[in-house]
Symmetry: C2
Subunit: 334 residues, 2 copies
Amino acid sequence: MSRATLADVARRAGVSVSTASRALNGLDGPSVETRRAVADAASALQYRPSVLARSLRTRRSHTIGFVVPDISSPFYAAVLRSAHERLHDAGYRLMLMNSNRDAGEEIEALGTLLDHPVDGLLLATTGLRTTQFERTVGTVPCVFFDGILTGVGTGSVGVMNESGMGLLVDHLVEHGHRRIALLAGQQTETTGIERLRGFRAAMKRHGLPVARGHIRPCDWTQESGRLETRVLLGLHPRPTAIIAAGDDLAFGCFAACREMGLDLPADLALASFDDPYFGQLLEPALTALTSKPVEIGQIAASLLVDALRGVERSERDIRLPVELLRRASCGCVA
Amino acid sequence: MSRATLADVARRAGVSVSTASRALNGLDGPSVETRRAVADAASALQYRPSVLARSLRTRRSHTIGFVVPDISSPFYAAVLRSAHERLHDAGYRLMLMNSNRDAGEEIEALGTLLDHPVDGLLLATTGLRTTQFERTVGTVPCVFFDGILTGVGTGSVGVMNESGMGLLVDHLVEHGHRRIALLAGQQTETTGIERLRGFRAAMKRHGLPVARGHIRPCDWTQESGRLETRVLLGLHPRPTAIIAAGDDLAFGCFAACREMGLDLPADLALASFDDPYFGQLLEPALTALTSKPVEIGQIAASLLVDALRGVERSERDIRLPVELLRRASCGCVA
DNA sequence: TTGTAAGCGTTATCAC
DNA sequence: GTGATAACGCTTACAA
């Protein structure tokens, strides 16, 4: 005795499968009595429709694929939660994939999801090319977030990377810093690229030179931040301030300073682009920009749901403004 | 021109669908030439089998359901990543659900997953009853982790909650504390229950009384930790040390102390059951137990995969030992 | 208002 | 070796 099928329900209600289907789906046709009989039979048998069979027939799986570089990152986890909530409310399930910060794995992940198939995609890309994207995703609705590919897909959500970086540079300059270095993050991802661009622009705006070796492209990891900070601190002249393009990079900088017996912010000022949710609890508290994972997830999911429902939206590429959280690591008094 | 189907491949190769199916699935029967022809046709058409149709027919979806109280929690996110990796390698996809720390939502989530259907479940339960579980999950393989329901399911993985809590109490007692309070966490989840039990046992073992009101059952949130800490600090006599049963509770305690101008560990000692991955970077660094999300995810996934493959395992309920990380918040010198 | 039947894209059981 | 053909459980013209 496995799960009851629609045929079982129909038999018990004394009607045909099509009538049973119509009754359960609330289509017009069946009389009130018929509906009642079918509903009774269904609940008596504890009938639950097979999503699989329905999807095969209707060509809609009500499943969304979610692909990120690293789901264990608190930022992506927070985006996931909020996107999931929105999608769940809209009747969608979520299938998860990790690209592991590798373009090849990302393509494979997309392929797996499309085979399933998924009705739409939420993607934080880790450096896909436009042609690769078009070839593997085709016309399936896809909303980018955080890691964005421009010119393709049905929409995108992110923060204002360039102007945000400007805020950080401006603030450090206000503190009197002139030799500012950047832990730049991975330069295959839009976030890394745009933040670096914003850094260069802001430094230029202030008429400040960017010393040779003061820009450190690197992985988005704590270990990488630690290593690159050590390199920076070994330079002559040594930077007096460091901007980390991501929170893990900032942690790495923390760790390096601790190892080397340096005091933040007395010996070195630090500002981070991303604000981890415990930025406040660090010592010194971390100066950072508001990162908005909840908003990003919610908006990305909404864009996708609208696209799936055929709703046209005027604004398809959304960039959220960020604000500076002045805390202690930059030299502001707590 | 949508995706090519098996029929398209068969037609192009000049064979029947059944032969094409056999050839592609490597079943014996088809001759070498036939195999070759089918493979050529398949790649020419960029054929990708429909997972949906295959699942409907074989009654295996190769999809696993993953249910947690809150996926934005770094602990669960880390478990997810490691479990996902293991499952991916074994050819399974992962469908995600959030129970939002609510038993009703958890049941609904399980129902949704089973409708899909999923071949197995990875579940951190938030206080399900045995009968509820049996009714909704039936015989589908389910491995519990973190939040565990004993006596049902195909296995479980967690840490040694009781002895771990003993380690924390022992250590604070070594520091000379006698009035130790507990931010106990939610008492519907096994983790909360077992950690409280371990706390009582350890206090008893040391012959220490547990003062009235010194045990604070509460939500697992930072806000809750902050509030309960304030309550504890308003008590007479006031506890000299607090143990947080979870990391967010410890952060709340941090926040409360900061608000009240109290110095950790001089005015109050703090030890946490869970170690957040940045515990080292806090000031003071957080004394905690090693939490092992990566191991937990990996083991849980392995147990499930074994069960799905019909492999019998002797050890089905695994409890990982934990170690004490002596840092500064308990009063140890850094 | 209801029923019949075709099909969604596979796999599996038969014959040949 | 290979090919019809019947499922898997559902939706949806089209008939009645």
